[in-house]
């Protein structure tokens, strides 16, 4: 009986070692992922890129389209999350300002998506 207990015990130890190796030492690298799986810092940088482009072209509709790339959150939520992360990790003030400006522009776009031609 004690042999069986010992046998099961070393199996469990082996499973733990296998999982440690497979998850920590040499984890699986996923390929063909979608943007919603991007880590928070990459998402924040993505939003910053959109903000940088918006600062140059002032095209808020295009900015919204670009933000929908981040599939799992609405554009405004994506900007808010990016702004929060950017503040936490102390992005440059100029970058924070760009993200703020993007937020205002997207808010304005939702109010008036056709610009001046809206009824």
């Amino acid at each position: 009986m004690s042999r069986w207990i010992g046998f099961l015990f070393v199996i469990l130890v082996g499973v733990a070692l296998g999982l440690l190796y497979g998850w920590v030492v040499d984890p699986v690298e996923f390929i063909d992922t979608t943007p919603d799986s991007l880590r928070e810092d990459y998402r924040a940088d993505y939003v910053l890129m959109v903000a940088e482009i918006y600062q140059a072209d002032r095209d808020s509709a295009a900015a919204v389209t670009r933000l929908t790339f981040l599939a799992n959150e609405e554009p405004l939520a994506a900007i808010q999350n990016a702004a929060r992360f950017a503040t936490e990790v102390s992005y440059a003030t100029s970058d924070l300002a760009k993200i703020d400006a993007l937020f205002d522009a997207v808010m304005a776009w939702y109010d008036n998506p056709l610009g001046d031609t809206a009824p």
Binding site: G6, V10, G14, G22, I31, R39, Y46, E52, T68, P113
Partner: protein, 303 residues
């Protein structure tokens, strides 16, 4: 009598356990992938990411930042991949702005893309802007290729230089009598002509209280203004995507298609063949004291 056995069963159990652990860690698919990097993105998403980096570089001129972002994608030849994507975008009718931005970034990173096999309207501008910035800024080429450099190096190395032995007198050549042979005529191979992508001609708000649902009405026409059936339209939203075709409701017109929207959701719509995407959401209409959800009518046409 008791059989005396060693401790091999412990080693067997350990190896078995490790194998089970590795299978669990490596083989079983996760419920959801998270915290991944841009290098693991699917190829089409990588293209979109790369195009955005290029546009951001166009906007800021910050090459160091652009380079750092591109390195996240894990491409071995960054400039080459950018140039290739630029060419592909032009050929497949993607956004010209993005193609140009990709070409500019590629040039800035050191590789001038080959001239694009495109319509004459888009060629000159791309080539003109694909010049490396060094030559534009100071008016001088950054690196001048010295055609004598090889000879100088050989001379300095003490190796004998090849002497010119070519004579000016043409050597006699053998003349051949032409023999009549049957040569099959080349068959004409049809080369597909790239059609320009559909462009958004008009976007209008649809406020009709009789309509019980909020939808996007799409009308796709050709250059003559006639409806085009069978055009694939793609709508994407948070966590979803749908493909549909024009012409499935012929009573509304051959080039007509529609898509029902849900409030508080942002959608991106584009024609599958190419062209700029359009961002949309459910608009709110107001008439005197009544408020209701409206829709959109988009007319795409060939330029």
């Amino acid at each position: 009598m008791r059989e005396k056995r060693g401790s091999w069963y412990l080693l067997t159990g350990l190896i078995l356990g490790i194998l089970i652990g590795l299978v669990l860690a490596w083989m079983l698919p996760p419920t959801a992938v998270s915290n991944s990097g841009p290098n693991s993105l699917r190829q089409d998403y990588k293209d979109a990411y790369r195009a955005l980096v290029a546009l951001a570089f166009d906007a800021t001129g910050d090459q160091k930042r652009a380079n750092a972002r591109l390195e996240l994608l894990g491409d071995e030849d960054i400039a080459g991949v950018l140039a290739a994507q630029s060419q592909r975008y032009l050929a497949e009718g993607y956004s010209y702005t993005e193609a140009l931005a990709l070409a500019r970034l590629s040039a800035a990173l050191g590789q001038v893309p080959e001239p694009a096999p495109r319509t004459p309207t888009s060629m000159p501008e791309l080539i003109a802007t694909a010049t490396p910035p060094e030559t534009v800024e100071d008016g001088l080429p950054s690196e001048t290729v010295n055609p004598d450099s090889t000879a100088t190096t050989l001379e300095e190395a003490g190796e004998p230089l090849p002497t010119e032995t070519a004579s000016i007198t043409p050597s006699p050549t053998l003349s051949r009598t032409p023999i009549l042979t049957f040569t099959p005529l080349p068959t004409l191979t049809a080369t597909p002509t790239l059609s320009p992508p559909y462009v958004l001609q008009n976007q209008a708000l649809v406020c009709d209280p009789i309509l019980q649902k909020s939808n996007i009405q799409i009308v796709v026409t050709n250059a003559a203004g006639e409806g085009v059936p069978g055009v694939e339209v793609i709508v994407q939203w948070t966590g979803g995507e749908e493909h549909f075709y024009t012409g499935l409701k012929p009573e509304m017109g051959l080039g007509y298609a529609d898509f029902d929207m849900t409030p508080a959701q942002t959608y991106t719509l584009h024609i599958a063949e190419g062209g700029e995407p359009v961002a949309l959401f459910v608009p709110e209409c107001a008439e005197t004291s009544t408020r209701y959800w409206g829709g959109w009518r988009l007319i795409f046409t060939h330029p």
